[in-house]
Symmetry: C2
Subunit: 327 residues, 2 copies
């Protein structure tokens, strides 16, 4: 437990440092350009005001009107196609904000919609991603057999490399497509795909906002929706492969050491399930394996898998865990 808390504290310090470093770098990269743009805009605004003789109040009103007109610039956003696009940005948590509910009832429905839709989407992408990983594993195995390897085996490293390539290909394909359809540069289209598929979704670049695409280009609309959903599956499959493994593999040692220490102390409090009797019998190796899996799941995922009674009461010493190489 103490080790888990230490690890958590270390992670918190780590992320805080990461934010501080990021802030400094973004400041350095963007601050001057921001001041430059602001000065340029102020100058142009001044020119307009002198040309037309705006009062300050009228100019502010004009700016307000222009801001309010912004969401309408790309055509209606709340007809069926636009609403479907919006619904995607809600359940995937991309949340561009190019359209956001204007009515209070829309806001209320949006919150309930997200409450159910986000977990549903999480579970679906998780499930799709796992199927994709399984398919990739089979294809890699078949490829290795075709290459004539005697005992073909798909290692974790193989899967990670394949995953990275799949992510890169997904981003590049999307970038090429959106650069063509939206008239963006390849770099900006790549940036758009990246920001979308990581679900950050700033909204500085949003597809389907030019030329009334939502109403007039149904095939491009369908492509965009499919790209987002399939792209999220690929990214999700890769995250499933890499991040969850890391969670499970990296934190094993500190907890085992702590549990070994507490198991040797008679009467030490067990924080998990008081009152459960240890199961009778069982070989040492199978019981140790089950024990490792349960504690691994509990400590790293915050829950114990169902039907895993408390084996940690046995007090058997743990073997050092070898890092698995094959899937």
């Amino acid at each position: 437990m103490r080790e888990q808390s230490a690890r958590t504290a270390a992670l918190v310090l780590c992320i805080l440092s990461y934010l501080l470093v990021g802030a400094a770098v973004f400041d350095a990269l963007e601050s001057d350009a921001e001041s430059g743009r602001q000065r340029l805009l102020a100058r142009k605004r001044g020119e307009f005001r002198r040309k037309y003789g705006f009062s300050a109040e009228d100019y502010r009103e004009l700016e307000r009107l222009a801001r309010q007109a912004e969401p309408h610039r790309a055509g209606p956003q709340w007809q069926f196609a636009g609403s479907f696009y919006f619904a995607i940005t809600v359940v995937t948590t991309i949340g561009y904000g190019h359209a956001a509910p204007g009515t209070d009832s829309g806001k209320v429905f949006c919150m309930f919609y997200a409450l159910l839709g986000i977990p549903l989407a999480l579970v679906t992408f998780q499930s799709l991603g796992e199927r994709l990983n399984t398919l990739a594993r089979r294809l890699l195995l078949a490829a290795k057999r075709c290459l004539g390897l005697r005992r073909p085996r798909v290692s974790t490293e193989n899967m990670v490399v394949a995953g990275l390539l799949a992510c890169a290909a997904t981003l590049a394909l999307g970038a090429a497509a959106f650069a063509h359809f939206e008239g963006w540069t390849f770099f900006h289209a790549y940036y758009y795909c990246f920001i979308t598929l990581t679900t950050i979704g700033f909204g500085d670049f949003v597809a389907l906002q030019n030329d009334g695409a939502l109403q007039r280009k149904p095939r491009y609309v369908a492509f965009s929706f499919l790209y987002i959903l399939l792209g999220l599956t690929v990214i999700g499959a890769f995250l499933n492969l890499v991040v969850l493994r890391f969670l499970a593999a990296s934190a094993g040692a500190p907890q085992r050491a702590a549990r070994r220490a507490s198991a040797r102390r008679p009467g030490a409090p067990d924080s998990s399930r008081p009152g459960r009797a240890p199961r009778p019998g069982g070989s040492a190796s199978a019981a140790r394996r089950a024990h490792r899996l349960e504690t691994c799941a509990r400590d790293n995922l915050g829950f114990s898998p169902p039907s895993s009674p408390g084996a940690e009461r046995r007090g058997e010493p743990d073997r050092p865990r070898a890092r698995r190489r094959s899937i």
Copy 2:
């Protein structure tokens, strides 16, 4: 495997239906209001144009200037406090978009920053959330003991209710605070907190954008950052408790049935780890438990925990899994 694919297909149909229903409802709620706002804006714009005698081109230029001036309206966004705020919206994937990198180097750095920062944040919130769940479990246990219960036990239902209350309290507290500091209604502030803590982050409501708060109100700035980070921890802890459990518990039966069927067929292909010899010995019950845990982890999380050799080759029949009630 076939059951897993059927489950995945069912989930995909489910999410597609959910998106269609959502689209229809948002269309019904927002479309008319959108047209109404658009007509009102067009009328006001016409009044201004008649008052000042704009050319169409000049008016478009004016609107463009107003759009570009929008990010500057709330003061500089890229000094240190603003950049830190931006960095938070990147690693948490909230991505309001109130500020987005204007320079290409800023965009490039942003992508690399997200690539490392998002997994780091995921692991940190996961870890913090698990600690929070552990603390909550202990507090609930202590509370039950104080209430004089003879064999106090914290059930999953207790934890879920506690989690729901914690989420609701977090949202309500945030709503009260931001309504006060930003001058929003309680409902809009609640909506802001909800959209932020689900990481959707439309950007229609963004804190720290009034009265130059980023530069002039350091304590409010610190509060906002802390609120976002702690609020995400609470939400993450609840998701950890509920969604991951559901993933583990709900999909067990189909895979066990499938594996039982395939294990009875001699020579049936094993898609996971060909070439591994089964481990010798072991009691039936401990081995079955380990087997269940491994398959549960593999099928639902898409990976096998480390040091879990292929037990599924044993071909032992599985007991039906009882749903766990206590943690």
